[in-house]
């Protein structure tokens, strides 16, 4: 192989490697964003919480209609008493789907006046918008009906 051929090869291989985004290293699930959601909820920062959703996000809560839009989502989370109630997540599975991340897991909500935490499961779809990973769809349900004496909107 002479120099000209070698140079042709090098250029073509470089083109092949660089010419397609899909050949890049896979991006990891945006754990910092997910951790940020928990930190905002557990500190009662509902404004910060609402900013973790995309402009066209929808929250799909149990026994309530779909909530959409930053203002409505912020108002919605206030009813869950963030800052008093504390949420932890576990048994999480994530899957990259095109420009989205799908996440599934279980949660535990500790409510001060209740002895046992309320356990449930969730599914989320995350989308990258303006360079940040944001929640696009957020749905969950408890593993048992809420205690009868508490309002249906209580966390869980």
């Amino acid at each position: 192989m002479n120099r000209t051929h070698l140079a042709s090869w090098a250029i073509l291989v470089a083109l092949a490697a660089a010419g397609c985004e899909r050949a890049g290293t896979p991006e990891a699930f945006p754990q910092a964003a997910a951790d940020g959601w928990l930190a905002a909820f557990n500190s009662g920062d509902t404004t910060g919480l609402a900013l973790m959703y995309s402009d066209d996000a929808e929250v799909l809560p149990p026994d309530e209609p779909i909530v959409s839009g930053h203002a409505a989502i912020e108002e919605f989370w206030k009813s869950y008493d963030p800052g008093q109630v504390r949420i932890a997540v576990s048994e999480v599975e994530t899957r990259r789907l095109g420009d989205y991340w799908f996440r599934e897991g279980t949660y535990s909500a500790i409510i001060p006046e209740e002895g046992e935490p309320r356990i449930g499961k969730f599914i989320e779809l995350w989308v990258k918008s303006g360079g940040a990973w944001l929640l696009y769809r957020h749905m969950w349900s408890p593993n048992a009906p809420p205690p009868a004496e508490l309002p249906a909107s209580a966390p869980g």
Binding site: L12, V13, D63, L97, E104, T106, M139, S141, P145
Partner: protein, 152 residues
């Protein structure tokens, strides 16, 4: 010599830079089969529309894992005489061997009572067949007097 060198390199370039394949359409025929089998209270037929390691996430109940458990779940929650169902697809996204669907449902009770809710599904294609891999749903309002709910 020149041809031998250039052809494989060109082929490599073309292969790596081909545009992403056009996504398949959402498997609406399978989704329609789900509704038909639900209304026939066909638990085994419904279970066949889920992946072997599927998970169903029902409201007010623990996760149901695996096709056999999902069949038992449908047999228990959708016995003959149960309400019929209407499903509307709101959004679908297809990514290779996975697809996402969001929708709404309405249950048609024998007495004419109607309740509604929403759902999200993750579908997976394996062995050439699209099946439901994950499914979560909930009602839009608390059930009157009970925690009963029906799958979407």
């Amino acid at each position: 010599m020149r041809m031998r060198m250039i052809l494989p390199a060109s082929a490599l370039t073309l292969t790596a830079c081909l545009p992403a394949p056009v996504p398949e359409a959402f498997p609406q025929d399978v989704a329609d089969a789900w509704v038909e089998r639900y209304e026939l209270h066909d638990a085994a037929g419904l279970a066949a529309l889920y992946t072997e390691d599927a998970q169903v996430l029902p409201p007010d109940a623990e996760i149901v894992s695996g096709r056999a458990a999902i069949q038992e779940f449908h047999a228990r929650t959708n016995p003959p005489g149960s309400a019929g169902i209407e499903i509307a697809t709101v959004e679908t996204l297809v990514f290779g061997d996975y697809a996402y669907r969001q929708g709404s449902f309405r249950l048609k009770g024998p007495g004419g009572a109607v309740s509604g809710g929403k759902f999200i599904e993750l579908w997976k294609k394996s062995d050439g067949k699209w099946r439901i891999h994950r499914e979560i749903w909930s009602a839009n309002a608390p059930a009157p007097g009970s925690g009963d709910d029906e799958p979407a």
